[in-house]
Assembly symmetry: C2
Homo-oligomer: 260 residues x 2
DNA sequence: GGAATAGTGTCTCTAAGACATTATTCT
DNA sequence: AGAATAATGTCTTAGAGACACTATTCC
């Protein structure tokens, strides 16, 4: 983490405030009449469960769209960082503190009429998670359930608000990330076999892959995976080497999707 | 554009409001006490000018950071869509309506203390533009100037707010996009030669490329460029074919950066 | 003719894809 | 032994990179 940078920026900002206060006799403030809006953070949590690519949905317990499926999320509270809000929502839904998964910002959705209650912009985060125990229902959620991605994408009016579009963009981002980054491992437990990693690719992309070529590509791509030294027979047959994620953030060469 | 989708979602939302109003006797509204924040849109406008990869900066005419370099941007006004606000800022700075360039959302920056005036979150947009006449100074900008990207990246305290980080992420996004998308053409005039396209790659990546191999790769990649039928001698020597952007949004095969 | 730039061809090597074969466990 | 899965090897072909060569303009 760029800790020194954060410290120096913070000091810079404090100095700016002090200087302005001295110069003008008042604290700097936003121009009067500046429009303000509520900010929500919504999560696209993806996982591979029982061989199915799934997204976590809740049924809304409050209006608007009461009883409809939606993405888990909530409003950013006073003084809270956006990423911190996403982590908080993630923990509320899964009960786990980023359990070896991956969390990144997906995009911001701010169409003026996307929420009937008023102007709300939503910062969406994408989470890639290993298989997780069935989630607990949150405070404002009547129910929380892992739902097949294909089912969600097939019905444009299944989800509340513009959440269908958010899910679609999150799924496409995830599919694309598997090509150029080692993030498929984020869907796996800390130690995994090459076959388990391959099934992640096959499930997320919806395409069968050649097990022999896949094995060669993964083990020949520098920094993708590292052997732990252990083996397992949990898949039956000959014992398989266990691997953990390697140090690389970018795959060279990439794992390209067939055809497309 | 998914026009029908927009229409159907709009109708859905109106029905939700009407239904809720009938059911409860009041318009749906946000929970009392919900924190609201100001929303700014900032632009990372990139271009290749005189062989230099450059970003448009303004000097701030108002506090905070008065006189400091910053990204062009401004607050989202009442009822305005985020993308519309970005287009408006782009036009205010260049005087042109998305002139063959490219505009996409880059990310949202919402650290609680990033603006000394109060809670402001900034939605950053990335614009890739062809060589543009020197910009006019905007209303709240004392000056606007194309600045070499390398110079901006080298000095972490050159820019106001967290704009250094935003520029860094925008530049990296642009460099990466050249690999997998035909967006290098967004830096070129409507009709361009292969050599001009190559100079874009060389300038943005900061790496010399082999002209012969580059020519073969670009012309062999399906849908990347299409000949217009015209030729030009504006670069001297043998006349060069002119090309325009092709229909593809994803390059197959990709134009990978050397080494990395 | 000479300089400058455009465009094609050739060679080598890496990596992808198709598919055979061997290895090691469990029942 | 037979089933099941893991891991390695072989062959063909596409594409990247290095570099020689030809083509067409202007001076």
């Amino acid at each position: 983490m760029p800790y020194l940078l954060i410290v120096s920026l913070t000091i810079t900002r404090i100095l700016v405030i002090v200087k302005m206060t001295i110069n003008t006799g008042v604290m700097p403030s936003l121009p009067p009449g500046t429009t303000t809006v509520a900010v929500a953070v919504d999560l696209v949590m993806l996982t591979v469960r029982d061989g199915v690519f799934s997204v976590l949905l809740i049924t809304r317990g409050l209006p608007p769209y009461r009883g409809r499926w939606a993405l888990p999320g909530g409003f950013v509270v006073d003084g809270e960082d956006l990423l911190a809000a996403a982590v908080r929502e993630l923990q509320e839904e899964t009960g786990v503190a980023t359990p070896g998964g991956h969390l990144e910002q997906l995009g911001t959705y701010g169409s003026p009429r996307r929420d009937p209650r008023g102007r709300v912009i939503s910062v969406a985060y994408l989470a890639l998670l290993p298989e997780t125990p069935v989630p607990a229902a949150g405070s404002d959620a009547m129910d929380a359930r892992w739902t097949p991605v294909d089912k969600v994408l097939a019905d444009r009016s299944l989800l509340a608000f513009d959440h269908h579009q958010i899910v679609a963009e999150g799924v496409e981002r995830a599919r694309s990330k598997l090509e150029y980054s080692p993030l498929a491992a984020a869907f796996c437990p800390p130690a995994f076999t090459i076959a388990e990693l391959r099934r992640v690719y096959e499930t997320v992309w919806g395409t069968p892959l050649d097990a022999r070529n896949f094995h060669r590509k993964v083990t020949n791509t520098e920094g993708f995976v590292e052997p732990t030294g252990d083996t397992t027979t949990r898949d039956g047959g000959r014992p398989a080497q266990l691997y953990k994620r390697g140090p690389t953030n970018l795959l060279h060469p990439a794992m390209l999707r067939p055809d497309v």
